[in-house]
Symmetry: D2
Subunit: 333 residues, 4 copies
C-alpha cells in the first residue's frame, strides 16, 4: 500500500522510518507547511514533496498518516475520509471534545481503516500485561496504577498551546487505563504546580494524580509528573484476584556495578523515542494489517474520543474539586 505523510517534524520522521520497516507499505509523498522540513524528509527517503490537495486527489495513494500539529488533526481526518483514504492519525483527535465527537461520527461511516496513534498499546511490555490479563493469568482485575513521568517539562510556550496536562500528557495514560480496564464511571482529578512556577503562571499544572472508578468497583490511579531527572518513567501495575502484573521501565543497559557506595544499575531510557521506538514499528504493522488483511483496528477513533472525554472530565473535576461522572454524552456511545 502507498502512504503519504502529513507532517515532517520529529514524530513524522519516526513514522517515516516505521513505514519502511513493513515491506507491505511504501512511503510515496510527504507534505508539511514547513517546506524545508518536508524537503529534507523527502530527500532522505527518495520521495516527492506534494501538496495536501495533490495527495488527497491521487487515487494511487491508499493511506494518509497524519503527524502534523494537533490543530490540523480533525480536519485532515475529515478530508482524508472524504477522499476515501485509510487514515492513521497521531493523538489527539482534537483538543475540543465536541469536534472529536464529530470525527467519531464520521469514523463510524468510513469504510476504510481509521486508527489513532496510541503508541503505548504497542509497547511490548504494556502489550504483554494486556495479554496476561486477558488470559486470566492474574484473575479478574481489581486495582490499576499507571505511572508516567516525563524526564523534563517542555518549554512553557508549548505548555500554553498544549491543552493542559490532562489533555496533552495524561491522555496517553487515560488510554492505557481504557486499554486495560475499559471506560470508568467516575473521574477524580488532583493536580499541582511543583516543577516550574512558570507552568503555573501559564495556567497549567505539572504534577497530577487522577483516580478512575469503575461501575463494577475496580479502581485505577494515574500519576503524572513533568519531571523525573532519572529518565522517562513509564510503568503499569495491576492487582488481580490471583496476583499482580507490572510492566517496569526499560533501562539503558544491563550493567550492574557494586562498590562500597552501593549497587548501581542503569537508568530508564531517557525519553519516548528510546522507549517506544519498537512500539511505533509494531503500531504501524497493525495499521497495515488492518488495511491489507482486514484485521480489526487496535486503536480506534472511538478510543481517541474516549481518552479525550476522560481528559475533559479530569479538567472539570480539577476545576470543581469533586468527582465527575463520565456520561454517554461525553463519549458519544
Amino acid at each position: 500500500m502507498k502512504v503519504a505523510l502529513f507532517g515532517a517534524g520529529r514524530i513524522g520522521k519516526v513514522h517515516a522510518a516505521s513505514i519502511k520497516t513493513d515491506p507491505r507499505s511504501e512511503l510515496v509523498a510527504v507534505t508539511d507547511v514547513m517546506i524545508e522540513a518536508a524537503q529534507a524528509l523527502a530527500q532522505e527517503h527518495g520521495i516527492a514533496v506534494r501538496s495536501p490537495e495533490e495527495i488527497l486527489a491521487d487515487p494511487s495513494i491508499d493511506a494518509i498518516l497524519i503527524a502534523s500539529s494537533t490543530n490540523t488533526h480533525a480536519d485532515l481526518i475529515e478530508v482524508g475520509a472524504k477522499a476515501g483514504k485509510a487514515v492513521f492519525c497521531e493523538k489527539p483527535i482534537d483538543l475540543d471534545l465536541k469536534r472529536a465527537l464529530e470525527i467519531g461520527r464520521i469514523a463510524k461511516t468510513h469504510d476504510k481503516p481509521m486508527m489513532m496513534g496510541f503508541n503505548r498499546r504497542f509497547d511490548p511490555n504494556f502489550a504483554a500485561v494486556k495479554a496476561a490479563l486477558d488470559a486470566g493469568e492474574v484473575g479478574k482485575g481489581e486495582l490499576l496504577a499507571v505511572t508516567s513521568y516525563d524526564p523534563a517539562p517542555p518549554p512553557v510556550s508549548y505548555i500554553k498551546v498544549s491543552g493542559g496536562l490532562y489533555r496533552d500528557m495524561m491522555i496517553h495514560d487515560f488510554d492505557i487505563c481504557a486499554f486495560l480496564f475499559g471506560m470508568p464511571k467516575m473521574v477524580m482529578a488532583h493536580g499541582s504546580c511543583l516543577v516550574d512556577p512558570e507552568i503555573g503562571a501559564a495556567g497549567d499544572i505539572d504534577t497530577a494524580v487522577v483516580v478512575l472508578t469503575y461501575a463494577d468497583g475496580r479502581i485505577a490511579t494515574i500519576r503524572n509528573s513533568r519531571r523525573a531527572p532519572y529518565g522517562y518513567d513509564q510503568r503499569v501495575e495491576l492487582l488481580g484476584s490471583e496476583g499482580t502484573l507490572e510492566a517496569r521501565n526499560e533501562v539503558e543497559n544491563t550493567v550492574v556495578k557494586s562498590t562500597a557506595a552501593g549497587t548501581v544499575s542503569a537508568k530508564p531510557v531517557f525519553f519516548f523515542l528510546e522507549r517506544y521506538m519498537r512500539a511505533y514499528a509494531i503500531e504501524w504493522r497493525a495499521f497495515v494489517d488492518a488495511c491489507v488483511e482486514g484485521k480489526p483496528v487496535p486503536a480506534t477513533v472511538q478510543d481517541g474520543v474516549n481518552a479525550l472525554a476522560l481528559a475533559e472530565a479530569a479538567n472539570q473535576s480539577f476545576r470543581e474539586g469533586r468527582p465527575i461522572e463520565v456520561t454517554s454524552e461525553m463519549t458519544g456511545v
Copy 2:
C-alpha cells in the same frame, strides 16, 4: 527497666520476644482476661501472671506495654499514665476519634514516654526511605505512593468489630504518609468490595484507594486490598525533585530459576510477622531509648491521633463522595 505486658495474644507474644532482645529491659509480669493465654506466656518467659491493678500499683514496674484488644487501649493508656508508668501502646488509640483526642491531651501532660506501636516506621526499608528523603537525596518530595495489600482477608467476624478498612488496615498507611510527608490538607477516599461479598454485607469494603493532598501541592496515594495471593505486599515509592525512592518487598529467599517457562524468583514474605519481626525489635529499642536515655519518642500519641483523624476523614469522604478537609478540630493541634 521493668516492663509489664497487657495482652498475651499474637501481638503480645511478639512484643514479649522483642523485650528480650534489649538487655536494658526486662519483662516481669503479664496480664490478660484470657487467663490461659497469660499463664502460657508467663511460663514461657519465667514471669508472673498478675492483675492489672497489681501491675499499676507496683512502683518497681517502670513501663506497661499495651497489646490487649483495641477497645481497652484508651482506658489502659489513661490508667497507666495516672500510675506514672511509661506507656507503649499498640495502634490504634481507639476507634473513636473523640476518645483518642482526650488521650492525646493526657499524653501532653504525662512526663513519661508514651509511644504508639506504628511498627512500620521501624522497618529498615521504610526507615531507609525516610532517612534518604530527609537527607535530601532525591530533593524535595512531590508524589508519594503507598501500596499495602494483605495476603488474605481476616474472618468476617473480625471485620465487623474492626472499625472498617480505613481505621483498621489503612491506618498504618496513613501513618506512613504522615511519617514521610507530614499531615495533608484534604482526603479523598474511594473503596469497593471486590474480594469477598460477605465483607460488603458486613458494611465494609476490602479494596480502597485514598488520595491525600497537601497544602504545598504534594500528593500521596494509598492503595489497599485485603487480598494478595502472592503474599504481604508492602511498598512505598516517592518522587522527589531529583529522583525517586522505592522500598520494595522483602522476599522469601534470593533464588532465581530460569527455565523455558520463564524466570521465577521468590514471593514476598507471607505476612506481617515475617516482614516486620525486625521492625518490632527496633521499635522496642526506640522505646527503651526514650525511657532510659531520654531520646525523643519516634511515634507519639499525637501520631496516633493524626492517623485516626485521617481514617475518620476517609470514612466521611467515602460516605459523601467528596474530598474532606483535615481540620485542627480533628487532630487537636
Copy 3:
C-alpha cells in the same frame, strides 16, 4: 538435651545464641582457655564455667559443641566421642588430612550424632537451590559456579596459622560443591596474591579459582577473593539440562533510589554473621533433630573429611600446576 560449649569466642557466642532458639536444647556449661571470655559468656547466659574434664565426665551433659580454635577440634571430637557425647564441631576437623581421616574412622563407630558446622548448607537460599535441584526443577545438573568473596582479608597473623586459602576459606565452597554435586574426580587449582602482598609474603594467596571435574562430565568452578569492598559476596549458580538456578546475595534493605546518577540499591549484607545468622539457627535445629528425633545428620564428619581432601588436592594442584585426582585414599571411602 543439655549442651556444653567449648570456645567462647566470636563463633562460640553465635552458637550459644543459636542453642537458645531451640526449646529442646539447653546450654548448661562453657569452657575456654581464655577464662575471661568463658566467664563473660557464662554470665550472659546464666550458666557455669567448667573445665573440659568436668564437662566430659558429667553424664547429664548430652552433647558438646566445639567452637574452639582449629587445632583443638580433632582432639575434642575424639574425647567427646569417648565420653559418649553427641558432638557438634565447627569446620575444619583438622588442618591435617591424615588426622581428619582418623577422626572419620572414629565417627563411623560412634553411636551418637556427630555433625560438622557447614553452616552454608543451612542458608535458606543455598538450601532452596539444593531442594530445587533435587526435585528436578532444572533437570540434571551440568555446570556449577560458586562465588565466595570476603569483604576484607583477615590479619596476616591469622593467615599464617590458617592453613592457607584452600583449607581455611575455600573449604566452605568445596563443601557446597559436594552438597550440590557430590565428590569430583579431579581438582585443578589456580591462585594469586592480588589483594595484599603481605599475604603473599606469608606464603599464601588471596585470590583463587578452582575447577572440579566429575566422573560423569559435570564441571564446577569456585572463585574466591579475600576482598570485596561492597560486602560479603556469596552466590551459587548452576546450569541444568532444563534451566538454571541462582542463589543471589542477601542485601541490606530493599530500597532503590533512581536519580540522574543512576539507580542505586543496597549492598550485600556485610559479613558472615549478617548473612548466615538464620543459617546458624537452622543448623542447630538440625543437630537437635538428629539427637532428639534420630533424624539423619545433614553434615557429617565424612563431609568434613571430603572438604578437607578437596582442599588438599587443591594445594597439591596449585603447587604442581596440574590437575590432581581425588583418590579413595584421600577421602577414606
Copy 4:
C-alpha cells in the same frame, strides 16, 4: 563509501541491514556461491549480484564485507587486501592458526582498515563494562567470569565442520577476555559432552570451562554450554580491587507477574540476532569511522589471531589435560 558483500546467508543479511543504518556507507553489490541467495538479497536491497572478480576489480568499491563460509575468510581477506580494499571480515580468520598468522602478517602491511567481526565488543552492555573498567570505576581488575550458553546446539552436521567448540563457540569468549583483560599467559581447558551424545560421537564437546591465568596474577574463567533452554545466556562479571561489574542478560520484556506460584519475569532474548542486533549496527559504524574518519579499528586482525591462538591452546590443553602456555609463536607478537 561503497561496500560489496561476500555472502548472502543469515549473517550476510544482518550485515546488509547494518550497512543501511549508517548514511555514510552504501551497499552496492553482493556475491554468493548460492546464486539464489545472492539474488534474493540483491533484489531486497535494489543492488546488483556480481562476481568476486568484478567486485575486486571495481575501483569504485571501497570496502568488502566478508560474511561467507569460514573456509573462504582467509583467502578473501588476502585478495581483498591485494585489491586495495578496506576489509571487514566475520570471525574467525581461519580454523588453522598458521593460516591466520599469515593473514595477520598481511594485515600489518595493508594500509586500509581491516576489521574482524567480534560483535560482542559492541554490545552496549559489554561495552559499558569495558568503559567502566577502563575508567577505574572498580579499581584494578582481578577476576573475570564469562558465561556464554547457546539456547540449543546446532545440527551435528555443522558441529563436524565447525572446528570444535573452542574454535567455533568459545572464540567469542576468548575475545571478550582479551577485550577486557588482554592476553593471558596460560590456558587450562575442561570439557564434556553432556547435551547430545551425537556431538561426542562427532568428536566434539558441548559443555566446557576454560581458565585463563595472566602474568600479573589475574584469572579469567569461561563457561560454555550448547544448551540453555531459557534462551541465549550471555553475561560477563568481573571483580576489581574496588568492586564488581556485571553485564546481565537482555530480557524479552520488563513484565513481572506475582502469583501464589512465585514471581515470574521474562526470559533472556532467545538468540544472538535478538541480543546483538544493536551491536551489529554499532560495529558497522565503527568500521565506517575507521574508513572515513581514520579512527582506530576496534577489533583488529591481530585480535582475530589472538582469539584463535587461545582456542588452539585450549584444544591442546583439553587433549593433554594440562595447562598450556600462550607463546609469541602462537600469536605472532
